[in-house]
């Protein structure tokens, strides 16, 4: 009986300690949401399908390709979330799939390299002027 109470207490305190650790860690490490300029989050379907939203890094791709390759040849419209991309199209070789096919770049089986955003992050262009007009630079800590 006594050991059971002690055990429960210990579990309780371990719980509290873990919570305190988590809270402390969060307070110190909480990222400010200052992602790389022009990172695009695409989340028309991902969250609903139980996947993390997609992050497309412009900086990484523009080191390797001119805008023309994607925005003229491959037909990506200049609008975050505006291309109705889904996995069937990608596997068929459209959009991201024109390159992420195991020939030009690693293939679709690396789900979590694309589906890497914090769940519930809405579709957006990160650090865009519009985003900053809505939430001015100094105000980002909330």
């Amino acid at each position: 009986m006594k050991t059971e109470v002690l055990g429960r207490l210990r579990r309780f305190w371990i719980g509290v300690a873990m919570f305190a650790f988590a809270a402390g860690g969060l307070a110190i490490l909480a990222p400010e949401g200052n992602a790389e300029y022009a990172d695009v989050v695409i989340n028309n379907y991902s969250d609903k399908a139980g996947m993390r939203p997609v992050v497309f890094p412009h900086w990484f791709h523009r080191v390797r390709f001119r805008c023309k390759v994607c925005h003229a040849d491959l037909g990506f419209q200049f609008k975050a979330g505006g291309n109705d991309i889904n996995m069937v199209k990608i596997i068929e070789g459209q959009f991201c799939g024109a390159c992420h096919n195991g020939e030009i770049a690693w293939s679709v089986e690396n789900c979590n390299l694309c589906h890497s955003a914090v769940p519930n992050t809405p579709t957006q262009v990160h650090e865009s002027t519009l985003q900053k007009l809505v939430a001015p630079a100094g105000d980002r800590k909330k």
Binding site: L6, L9, R10, F12, W13, I14, V16, A17, A20, F21, A23, G24, A27, I28, P31, E32, G33, N34, A35, E36, Y37, A38, D39, V41, R52, V55, P57, H58, W59, F60, R62, R64, F65, R66, C67, K68, V69, H71, A72, D73, L74, F78, C99, I104, N112, L113, C114, H115, S116, A117, V118, P119, T121, V125, S128, T129, L130, A137, G138, R140
Partner: protein, 204 residues
């Protein structure tokens, strides 16, 4: 000592440290109160606030700073001057998805737009744009290819129209005013002639 008491002290200690750290962070007299610190620029994916640090793949992505080391700097955006990076061949982005030898069709034509108000006139260089883009990216949907046919305003640009379709989203933002407003009013000396390269970003 009973293990649970140890637990209690541990928690108290942690709470106090965390509390102290929090109050420190909230010092009302920091030197730069609103200016985001330069050290926080180009954060690695796990710390950037949009990538999920719990996701394994996040840790395989390249941190921007690893890639940006050698590239010419700029005051905003990615903090990289992409035009200079390309001109100086620091990067060699493909013009074709597969053909590494494909060369861009570059058009060297400057358009000067006289600006109302006090700001210097704007020089729009086709050269730097056609290095990256295809004519069809802008004409005719964003800009009608006819002199005088396009209404452009700063308000519209800030809302993502005209130049603002890219500038402020992917290309350098409008905070770098003088990169566009580069031709002083009433003196024909600077970069006016068709076919010249516009003056570069301001000398520092």
């Amino acid at each position: 000592m009973r293990p649970w008491k140890l637990g209690a002290w541990l928690v108290l200690g942690l709470a106090l440290t965390a509390g102290a750290m929090l109050t420190e962070a909230a010092d009302p007299n920091t030197f730069n109160r609103l200016l985001p610190s330069a050290a926080k620029r180009n954060p690695p994916p796990p710390d950037d606030g949009i990538h999920d640090p719990v996701n394994e793949g996040t840790h395989m992505l390249q941190p921007p700073k690893d890639a940006f080391g050698q590239l010419p700097k700029a005051p905003s955006g990615n903090y990289i001057d992409w035009v200079k990076s390309l001109d100086g061949k620091k990067i060699q982005p493909r013009y074709d998805r597969i053909d590494t030898a494909a060369e861009p069709i570059v058009m060297d034509l400057n358009i000067v737009r006289e600006v109302k108000g006090s700001m210097p006139d704007v020089v729009y260089p086709h050269k730097q744009h056609t290095e990256w883009l295809d004519c069809s990216n802008c004409h005719p949907a964003i800009f009608v290819p006819q002199k005088g046919a396009n209404q452009i305003s700063m308000a519209g640009i800030l809302l993502g129209e005209k130049c603002g379709v890219c500038h402020g989203k992917v290309a350098f933002p409008v905070s770098e005013c003088v990169r566009c407003h580069s031709k002083p009013k009433g003196d024909g000396a600077a970069a006016q002639k068709t076919g010249t390269t516009p003056p570069d970003a301001p000398k520092k």
